[in-house]
């Protein structure tokens, strides 16, 4: 799919949890799971657009789930119905449908759940178990239920589901639950993704991770979003954001 630079009208911008918002833009958009858009909803400051992964695509709208973290996402939070934003996309290499087969585990940590609703939707014909970890409040998991077989939830606080890390749930399923997966998809904090990659390595399961990075062009031209892999430095925006887990050298 050729990326385009376009303007879009805000349909909705709703709070789904503490600091977590869902932005819906009107229009006929097309994207693969795991791809992203560069989004700008302001004139001069901040200088750079923000990369947001595709949360969901409907016939007449596209949705982005984001966590308010700084100046850019604060500006996004303040958007109202009818406001016009700028979008460039779809960008990057998302999860490759052709490489995903059999029984699938999707593992997310916090806002890492953003690309995974659309991934679960795309993979609804496969047998998918969804593992979602949160700090305290949970979100989006009820939207995901319809597309997957099981949903396992963990919270750091113990408010909901397993008290502890989502990676514990995954290893428990594999070790004690007798679960077997052919592919794992993962998005979340680096330390969590590293753990998931380790678990998958032990269990010999191919794992695809979606990385996050500050970006400037989003197109693969400026080289500010590189990550370190076993095959040298790669552009998160163009070579990724999805990489084979075993290739990524995590900083965490």
């Amino acid at each position: 799919m050729q990326p385009v630079y376009t303007k879009g009208e805000v349909l909705k911008n709703i709070k789904v949890s503490k600091g977590i918002y869902k932005l819906s833009i009107k229009g006929d958009y097309n994207a693969n799971m795991g791809q992203f858009y560069m989004i700008k909803a302001w004139d001069e400051e901040p200088i750079l657009p923000r990369p947001l992964s595709v949360h969901d695509v409907d016939k007449d709208s596209i949705h982005f789930l984001y966590e308010v973290k700084g100046k850019g996402t604060e500006r996004l939070r303040d958007l109202n119905k009818g406001d016009i934003i700028e979008l460039t996309g779809p960008l990057g290499n998302g999860f490759d449908r052709l490489k995903i087969k059999g029984r699938v585990a999707v593992v997310s940590g916090g806002i890492g759940i953003a690309p995974m609703l659309y991934a679960a939707k795309t993979l609804k014909d496969l047998e998918v178990d969804f593992y979602a970890g949160f700090r305290d409040e949970i979100y989006v998991t009820c939207d995901i239920k319809q597309y997957v077989k099981n949903v396992y939830i963990s919270t750091d606080s113990g408010t909901y589901g397993h008290k502890g890390y989502v990676t514990d749930c995954l290893s428990e399923s594999l070790r004690v639950g007798g679960k077997k997966y052919d592919t794992v998809l993962c998005c979340g904090p680096e330390i969590m993704m590293k753990k998931v990659v380790d678990i998958c390595e032990t269990n010999e399961i191919p794992v695809y991770v979606s990385l996050e990075s500050s970006m400037a062009c989003g197109l693969g031209a400026c080289l500010v979003c590189t990550c370190t892999t076993n095959k040298g430095k790669k552009r998160v925006c163009k070579d990724g954001p999805v990489f084979l887990g075993e290739d990524v050298v995590f900083n965490a």
């Binding site: 400037a216 197109l219 031209a221 080289l223 590189t226």
Partner: protein, 301 residues
């Protein structure tokens, strides 16, 4: 109306995508018709492949960005073999930005580019993000004179030298580069700058310093272009925080023959087209027939 002559090369308009912000053009060609640009300055090239810097590479500040890419590039051979054929098809002037760590590397790089269909070489003696070379030649005029004169001896292409605003004396630097045989001067590269992560209590960048660009540097860049254009007889290319047609016209009126757009490409991927169209509008409204007519006009009055 917008076409300009720069070092004997005809540009269809004075707007060039600046080195480091535009890759090899291909990426942006997905978004807009890159052939509309006056030219493209390639990502900085070095004789050998460079992996670039570790750690965070980008940071936003008010009115600008700091970058610490560190000249990551595939090396000149791979550029010639893989990128140049593609970029040539984009039907615009190709300016190969050439970096190096040693004088010898610059010479070999320029030699290697002689027999290619690159239109112009932009000698990068101003990258603040690499430890050796780069800006090391862009601080003292005599060091710049040395590397430029050596490259001049072997270089068969029009040779532009891209200056650093961190030079001890930017005007003297430009004069010495002209004396060393440069066909043109482009300025400015990024300002050496820094930022601190106050929670982690350490610099944002592994290299501590990084290069500042964006609208915040424009008035300083403009002043430097004005001073340099008044001191040398060779064409000057204005760079620094240009975001709109009005900014571009300011640089032309201050003495630039054409301009480069860098950071602004990130704010809006096809912003160069807005700048080109806006310049044309302005010239129509002001009844200006050519860029030449207003080039350096503030000095003539």
């Amino acid at each position: 109306m917008l076409d300009v002559d720069v070092c004997g090369v005809r540009l269809k308009n004075p707007v060039i995508a600046a080195s480091g912000t535009f890759g090899f053009g291909e990426e942006y060609n997905q978004i807009f018709d890159v052939s509309r640009l006056g030219g493209i300055a390639t990502k900085g090239l070095t004789l050998n492949v460079k992996e670039g810097n570790d750690g965070q590479r980008i940071y936003e500040t008010r009115g600008g960005i700091l970058n610490s890419v560190g000249l990551q590039n595939p090396g000149i051979e791979k550029f010639i073999g893989e990128e140049l054929p593609k970029i040539r098809k984009l039907n615009t002037v190709i300016i190969a930005n050439l970096g190096g760590e040693t004088v010898d590397e610059y010479i070999k790089g320029a030699e290697r580019l002689n027999d290619t269909d690159v239109d112009i070489i932009e000698l990068n003696i101003s990258c603040p993000n690499v430890k050796s070379g780069g800006m090391a030649f862009g601080i003292k005029s005599k060091d710049a004179y040395f590397v430029v004169s050596r490259v001049r001896k072997v270089c068969k292409k029009p040779l532009i030298v891209k200056l650093s605003p961190n030079a001890e004396d930017i005007v003297d630097m430009a004069i010495k580069c002209a004396e060393a045989g440069a066909d043109g001067i482009s300025l400015v590269n990024t300002f050496k700058a820094m930022a601190v992560d106050i929670k982690k209590r350490r610099p944002i960048f592994d290299n501590i310093t990084a290069g500042l660009s964006g609208p915040c540097i424009k008035p300083i860049a403009l002043r430097m272009v004005y001073e340099v254009a008044g001191a040398v007889d060779i064409p000057v290319i204005g760079i620094g925080g240009i975001t709109c047609a009005e900014d571009a016209i300011e640089f032309i009126m201050a003495g630039a023959s054409c301009i480069e757009v860098g950071t602004a490409n990130f704010t809006k991927p096809n912003i160069c087209l807005n700048i080109i169209d806006g310049m044309e509008d302005f010239m129509n409204k002001e009844n200006i027939k050519s860029i030449e007519e207003i080039k350096g006009i503030i000095r003539r009055k």
